[in-house]
Amino acid sequence: MSTVLAAAGVGAGEAWTFWILGPLAILAALGMVVARNAVHSALWLVLVMLCLGVFYVVQAGPFIGLAQIIVYTGAIMMLFLFVLMLVGRDASDSLIEVLRGQRLAAVALGLGFAGLVGAAFFRALDSRDAIGLAQANAEGNVQGIAASLFTRYVFAFEVTSALLIAAAIGAMILAHVERHKDQKFTQPDLMRARFAPGNYPGPKPGPGVYATSTSVATPGLLPDGRLSDRTISPILPKRELTEAESTPKATEGR
């Protein structure tokens, strides 16, 4: 079987791939952090994930590599983009720091942590040879994963379904407004409701238009000079008019 790489040593192809894609992945990760536009961040993230997928493939894990590309860059990034479309892709993250020096501290601590972990990896892995790859991939990569998944870790596998369904229910609770049956109206129903006694069948009057202020939140004036609540939507906070604004003004010609 030539499905697996020889256990030890790094081939030329692997080294080349690594030295080309490694810096690219790091640049893309940095790009994701510093991009001002959230959509650009998402696209940088796609690049990072693609690079990671290739790394997995190169390290003799074709299944995880392709799953990374299909699920992460395909499905999950698409979900990210939907969320961005939902909340807006504005780059308007505020420049005001809630805690003073927060960013600086975060950068310093982040670099410190990365240095610590990197140094630990370097020292721990420098003198170690990778073992077990040939054994794990002996029957083929996918077959090996299947054998673990459906025998040793079968319980964890089944419990994953609980996780997925809880997440699905959660997404539907938080994002789906259920229409009650009695909230569905037909056109005749709407017409009857419109001309029912106590309801004003005409269109509602528009909001006030003043020389000093024109907004959907400014109530219009009734003929006798009172403000009318019916001219603005009930969910808007009503803009308070000053006395000078709301008193009717005489024109020159009178």
Binding site: Q143, F157, E158, A168
Partner: protein, 123 residues
């Protein structure tokens, strides 16, 4: 070209050719076309009105639920691939079928819930 990475070399070559094709086409286009930019050409034209505000419009949250359900089944598919490779191999058989049956059955509950709550109905 042999060994494990050999089969991926073809794929890499294809990708490289694709990138090259794109680059050559766009560069040729750039070199051959006339290019006289002016301020008026780069403004957005909208029925004679100057556009104000941004170009972003909020997407319906319902798209999100669909996207989410898609992710759910993509994750399920990840488990289905290895299962599909081995389920009729000797030693797996019925056990594997039952295992996957339980898994898919539980996830189908989510779909059932979505159907009953009319998540799948657009209007």
């Amino acid at each position: 070209m042999g060994g494990y990475l050999g089969s991926y070399a073809t794929l890499g070559l294809l990708l490289a050719v694709g990138v090259l094709f794109f680059l050559v086409a766009m560069t040729a286009n750039r070199l051959l076309r006339t290019n006289r930019p002016s301020a008026a050409k780069s403004t957005t034209y909208e029925c004679g009105l100057d556009p104000v505000g941004g170009d972003w419009a909020q997407a319906q949250i319902r798209y999100y639920v669909y996207a989410y359900l898609y992710v759910l089944f993509a994750v399920e598919a990840v488990f289905l691939f290895p299962w599909a490779v081995i389920f009729d191999d000797p030693g797996f058989g019925m056990t594997a079928v039952v295992e996957m049956g339980i898994f898919v059955g539980v996830l189908a509950l989510g779909l059932l819930y979505a159907w009953r709550k009319r998540v799948l109905q657009w209007t």
